[in-house]
């Protein structure tokens, strides 16, 4: 198929060599680079909206007592902060990176299904307009937590059907994005690029895409059952009608745990691209890295029960989920060791993408350690639903997923824009982020162990000190992200010309570095030959 596309390309080139002008370029976009850009910009906007919610949360938690908002509004903020960050910021950012980089890395002229690509992006602004619109309807936005546990979620007011419909749209968008990635990788690799020769980022996305297709329909099913319980008097989860609220948790986390890995596997791929470049040395154990990602993806389907230990579970199930969860540490460990071995006897330089990748290594590992502690069932009974859990999942999601995304953006931005960005500003952004992320989240381990439950708008006075530290870290981290936006805008507007290799003095591998910077609007119209 790659061959036939290559020969077709000659005919197409003459009439849309240049992008359309004005709004049409974006509304009717079918070019993977344009759609990738839209995904990334959308994700950045959502990152700031979700971040603003987080700042309000941290402001209310700065000291005990309620100063700024009613508890209902606080609960709306925590619920929607999670939904916006997961479905609006992290996932679209990875899809945007996949749109830009997968065709460039596998030597394809575009994504396999460009019109579906357009559709899967343009659903998102509508989905999030609907979701954020729930703040303005009677009863306010959903306040039952992003996990939507019934019966609490069924108490949501007028925003309930809007929430469910928004989630359905996000799910459809994700599934279409995933299909596109799989079809592109399976059918449009350049001749000679066998699967095992494929770059790690493309590999991590291939596996992620299968996870998405497997679990997004499960989420859609579970929220549809909520919808019918709410409006059509079914009793899937209503105990009084013979239903089972715990069943929802099982279905939700069967989606939810793979979802967690959907948000981290592409970051693994990005880190596996960046570390070799700036270590000037190939990735250590590339094949075992692929197997490790695949094992993590498989294990993600059999560990969901660890979210529910305290909700009542037979002993055998507790033992099973404890062991299966602990097993995840093995392939994850292999990845961390391989990354370390990649740096070993290398020649390391510390450009912004490398700085973020190194911070990822350390801080994601800390999130991994607390994850291992959480797997120990008896201890989990103490940690469950406390700030220890909040600290854990923010360590894997912020310095994990989000630092991974930022590393990727700083790595490929010159390839996209054709300009180098301000290294000084990007490094400042890195240091501020890396320091304040720890001020923000590390004290939350102490809060949780000392007994502070999560999702509370007010707390007993002994938790004041660490909450103040955490809030100060939160404001500083949030403000530091403005630098990220400044670096990107400056880089789009101009700057020193970037060469094809961008990172002079290193030897980045991958087809994307054979193209000039910026990458031409149509690339690999003739498939490259891989030897």
């Amino acid at each position: 198929m790659a061959q036939s596309h290559a020969s077709d390309a000659a005919h197409h080139d003459d009439h849309h060599d240049q992008p359309a002008t004005g709004i049409k370029r974006w509304l009717f976009a079918t070019n993977h680079k344009d759609i990738g850009t839209m995904y990334l910009v959308f994700s950045l906007i959502m990152f700031f909206i979700g971040g603003a919610m987080a700042m309000l949360i941290r402001a209310e938690l700065f000291q005990p007592g309620l100063q700024l908002m009613q508890p209902e509004f606080f609960n709306q903020l925590t619920t929607n902060h999670a939904l916006v960050m997961i479905f609006g910021a992290v996932m679209p950012a990875f899809v945007g990176l996949a749109n830009w980089m997968v065709p460039l890395q596998v030597g394809a002229p575009d994504m396999a299904l460009p019109r579906m690509n357009n559709f899967s992006f343009w659903i998102l602004p509508f989905a999030f307009t609907l979701l954020l619109g729930t703040f303005f309807v009677p009863g306010g936005a959903a306040a039952g937590g992003w996990t939507l546990y019934p019966p609490l979620s069924l108490q949501t007011g007028d925003s309930f059907p809007m929430l469910i419909f928004a989630i359905h749209m996000m799910g459809i968008s994700s599934i279409m994005g995933a299909i596109n990635v799989i079809v592109t990788i399976m059918n449009m690799r350049a001749p000679g690029m066998t699967l095992l020769k494929m770059p790690l980022f493309a590999w991590s996305w291939l596996i992620t895409a299968y996870l998405l297709i497997a679990v997004m329909p499960v989420l859609a099913g579970s929220v549809t059952m909520l919808l019918t319980d709410h409006f059509f008097k079914t009793s899937f989860f209503n105990a009084a009608g013979g239903g089972d609220p715990i069943m929802f948790e099982h279905i939700f986390w069967f989606f939810g745990h793979p979802e967690v890995y959907i948000m981290i596997l592409p970051a693994f791929g990005i880190i596996s691209e960046i570390l070799p470049t700036f270590s000037r040395k190939p990735l250590f154990g590339a094949t075992s890295m692929i197997y490790a990602i695949a094992s993590i993806a498989f294990l993600s389907f059999i560990v969901w029960g660890h979210h529910m230990f305290a909700d009542g579970m037979p002993v055998a199930a507790q033992l099973f989920y404890m062991m299966s969860t602990m097993l995840i540490a093995v392939p994850t460990g292999v990845k961390v060791f391989n990354w370390t071995a990649t740096m070993w006897r290398g020649s390391l330089s510390f450009e912004p993408p490398m700085l973020f990748a190194i911070a990822f290594l350390f801080l994601f590992s800390i999130g991994g350690f607390s994850g291992l502690m959480l797997a120990i069932v008896p201890a989990d009974f103490q940690y469950n639903q406390t700030y220890f859990v909040v600290a854990h999942f923010h360590y894997v999601l912020v310095p994990g997923a989000i630092f991974g995304i930022m590393a990727g953006v700083y790595y490929w931005l010159p390839k996209w824009t054709g300009h180098m960005y301000s290294m000084a500003l990007a490094k400042t952004h890195f240091w501020l982020s890396a320091i304040f992320i720890n001020v923000l989240f590390f004290p939350q381990h102490f809060l949780g162990l000392a007994g502070m439950p999560r999702r509370i708008p007010d707390y007993a006075v002994q938790f004041t000190d660490w909450n103040m530290v955490s809030s100060i870290g939160g404001f500083a981290f949030g403000l530091s992200q403005v630098l990220f936006a400044i670096v990107i805008v400056q880089c789009i507007r101009g700057g020193k010309k970037a060469s094809a290799k961008v990172w002079e003095g290193t030897n980045p591998t991958g087809l994307e570095w054979t193209l000039p910077s910026p990458a031409p609007y149509h690339s690999f119209s003739t498939a490259p030959e891989i030897h």
């Binding site: 309620l66 546990y149 000190d465 660490w466």
Partner: protein, 304 residues
Amino acid sequence: MSVIRGDHDDSTSRPRAIAWARALCLATLGWAAQAEANTSDGYNLPVGVTSLSRDIYTLHMEVFWICVAIAVAVFGVMIYALVKFRHSQGAIPDTTLVHSTKVEIIWTIIPVAILVVMAIPAAKVILMMEDTRNSELSIRVTGYQWKWEYQYMDAGEGIDFFSTLSRDSNYARQLHSGIDPNTVPNYLLDVDKPMVIPSGTKVRLLLTSQDVIHAWWVPDFGAKRSAVPGFVNELWFKVDPGKEGIYRGQCTSLCGRDHGFMPVVVDVRTPDDFKKWVDEQKAASKQAAAQGEQPPPTALVLSK
């Protein structure tokens, strides 16, 4: 510095700066394990006052130290690589170092062994936690938005009351109340009527809910379990004799608007004092029934 069990000394009286410095110091130096107090010291789990809470604390510290050891080893190698193999210092990359089946097998097998070492003691504690047989006192705990109901069985048969956030905390926690929470004793961790249990007795709780999912938690007992409508979850604890006192916790499962305002308070008394309390409660309810002040719940239902 007592955290959940706030009755014996007042953590807020200690100058904040000292508490910060101490916690930061202990945290960075990894001395957390030395803080062997019954209650949490503000940055670690409480050792607690039951055999389960002690077992959990031990497991928690074991796994914590294993993680610290792994972190020291792995981060040590990373930091060494970051310092030693710098391009700016003229490091020459060894591009042949790309694969080694031997080390890859080693660093797969060693973690598996470590995990087995962690899993065996954890499994033992799980089996003990789930063994609710031979309990001496059972209490049915029902969650409501936003209070707890305690219905006693066995020796306390007939005792049935609600436990709600104390009035002082409730005034202070209103938006713009103008009351400084630091002036309210046990802010958000105090109730009008605590659950009373005897020490040295295996107490079994039967948890359920009337509306949404709640969770009952007292950190010092190592006891947390969800209260789910339509289900009865069990948990047990046995407070060590000599550890009588007030123990505090909170609902830990998001249950709506006032989730943050439904504390759990347990008053642990000696078996003799507990018996006295039971007799008082029974006498009081008999008197109330005689005066017709408190019609039994069934009469309410029938009269509708």
